[in-house]
């Protein structure tokens, strides 16, 4: 059964309150108040009140004035005025100011009140939906701004570097130097390429739909090993991976791989170059419809003051390696889609462990 709509009725005559509540309490959750402070307390304590009825003639204040007062502090509840007086002037004024949605004349009849509540509820829902959409739009705009920002750094940066290099190369005769430049140009282009791929991941995570299937983590880890065994050898980093899966896990493989890939790539990337015992350890455990993934490295660690920011778009805590600032943001977005969670623990110069939990669908 759907939860009852919360409504608030304010009237200084107690018998009216009792009558109102008795008539409507079967279908609605009715709060009543005989004075303004009580009404405000109800609004404060019950943010889900959707409709407010107020009598026009309250001691010391009119209903119109009361609505004017609350329309900025409690903008969401829909306001309906109850009046026994044919005070057309102030009524028109109040409606025109947008302070009230409707008015109901006293003595009211049940059908009229119920219809007012139902109409008000529709209005309330439409408004709330609009607010949610508005928030989403605002968020999308903010990210678009960040993109415009990053386009000049992450896309125009490598391009201008390579253009500059081509220009300079015309004046260089030493082949060795030209080769060194080619190497640096290649590095810049690879970075640009990685940026474009991450941007594509980003887009898919924001707009794509989930494709649920049963997931074999042993298979996924074999794929990861195929990618990272090479890096592990080249960089001299010991790489171990353990999978404990004795039950079916259902989820979307693509974002799960993206999470693992980003965490592993970071674990290898941010190793302490001077350390002798470099390692990356992955442990994946599926238990009670939940997968727990630990990715542990012996890297440079993350400074405590940066930990809170590493999941922000385009945030980079370190200049040792050139990242795009996309990776962990994409991890966070993927986890949001999968209903998962992530925790970080890090000790400077010792290493970082990421712990990820994702429920099976």
């Amino acid at each position: 059964m759907p939860t009852k709509i919360n409504i608030l009725y304010i009237d200084d005559e107690p018998e009216n309150l009792v009558g109102f509540k008795a008539t409507l309490r079967m279908d609605y959750q009715v709060f009543t108040a005989s004075n303004i402070p009580d009404a405000l307390a109800h609004l404060e304590n019950n943010p889900d009140i959707r409709v407010v009825f107020c009598d026009q003639r309250m001691p010391g204040i009119t209903g119109v004035e009361f609505f004017e007062q609350i329309c900025t502090s409690y903008p969401l509840p829909v306001r309906i005025l109850l009046t026994a007086y044919n005070d057309i002037g102030s009524m028109i004024d109040a409606i025109n100011k947008g302070n009230i949605f409707r008015y109901v004349t006293k003595p009211w009849n049940e059908a009229e009140v119920v219809s007012a509540i139902e109409e008000a509820n529709k209005f309330y829902l439409a408004n709330s939906m609009l607010l949610v959409k508005n928030d989403e739009l605002q968020k999308a705009y903010n990210e678009l701004n960040k993109f415009a920002y990053s386009v000049s750094h992450d896309i125009r940066g490598p391009i201008s570097g390579i253009l500059g290099a081509i220009d300079v190369a015309r004046g260089i005769d030493d082949l060795q130097e030209v080769k060194e430049m080619l190497y640096l140009m290649e590095k810049s282009l690879k970075k640009l390429d990685a940026y474009v791929i991450s941007m594509h991941d980003y887009y898919n995570l924001q707009r794509g739909e989930l494709h649920i299937d049963s997931i074999d983590f042993n298979k996924i880890i074999e794929e990861m090993k195929a990618i990272y065994n090479v890096v592990s050898m080249v960089k001299g980093v010991n790489f171990t991976a353990v999978v404990k899966q004795n039950e079916v896990f259902r989820g979307d493989e693509v974002p799960i791989k993206l999470i693992l890939n980003n965490l592993l790539s970071n674990a290898f990337k941010y190793q302490d170059k001077n350390s002798k015992n470099k390692s990356v350890d992955v442990c994946i455990e599926v238990e009670n419809n939940m997968v727990t993934i630990h990715v542990k490295d012996t890297g440079i660690g993350i400074l405590g003051t940066h930990v809170g920011e590493i999941f922000n778009l385009f945030y980079r805590a370190n200049s040792q390696e050139s990242g795009s600032g996309f990776g962990l943001y994409n991890v966070k977005s993927a986890l949001l889609k999968l209903n998962g969670q992530i925790e970080v623990s890090s000790v400077m110069h010792k290493g970082t462990t990421f712990k990820v939990n994702i429920p099976s669908v």
Partner: protein
């Protein structure tokens, strides 16, 4: 005028290009220091500025991790004047954002903004302008 140079840029290729442009353009430069982050550059300026009497031209990138170009200039402007007067700061950036440019030009110690990539003709322009100012 004989200049030394300091390049502050996290990108290897950009530092390489600027170094080459200097070598190909300025035939009397002192030395070229390269810094891959602005924090090290600040430290160098704070501790080593007394080692030389050369005027150092700084090419400063805007977007870098740790300390960005804006923060670098903020910190630089807190240094004593006998240190500051040995440096000429030029922002060198791939950014085409108007706000970035005006934000940077608000600093007294930023002489100009140069759009990446640095080329021989751009550097020649800077050097000629500096020559006329100092004569």
């Amino acid at each position: 005028m004989k200049l030394s140079y300091m390049l502050i840029d996290e990108n290897d290729l950009d530092r390489f290009v600027v170094r080459k442009v200097i070598e190909q353009t300025d035939d009397r430069f002192g030395n070229i220091k390269t810094m891959n982050n602005a924090r090290d550059a600040l430290k160098d300026i704070e501790t080593k500025s007394e080692e030389t009497n050369d005027i150092t031209l700084i090419f400063l990138d805007l977007y870098m991790p740790l300390i960005n170009g804006f923060q670098f200039v903020q910190e630089f402007e807190k240094l004593p004047s006998f240190v500051r007067e040995k440096y000429l700061i030029y922002a060198l950036t791939a950014s085409i954002d108007h706000n970035d440019h005006s934000r940077m030009m608000r600093f007294d110690s930023v002489r100009d903004i140069v759009e990446k990539p640095l080329t021989k003709s751009k550097l020649t322009g800077i050097l000629q302008e500096l020559d006329t100012v100092t004569k």
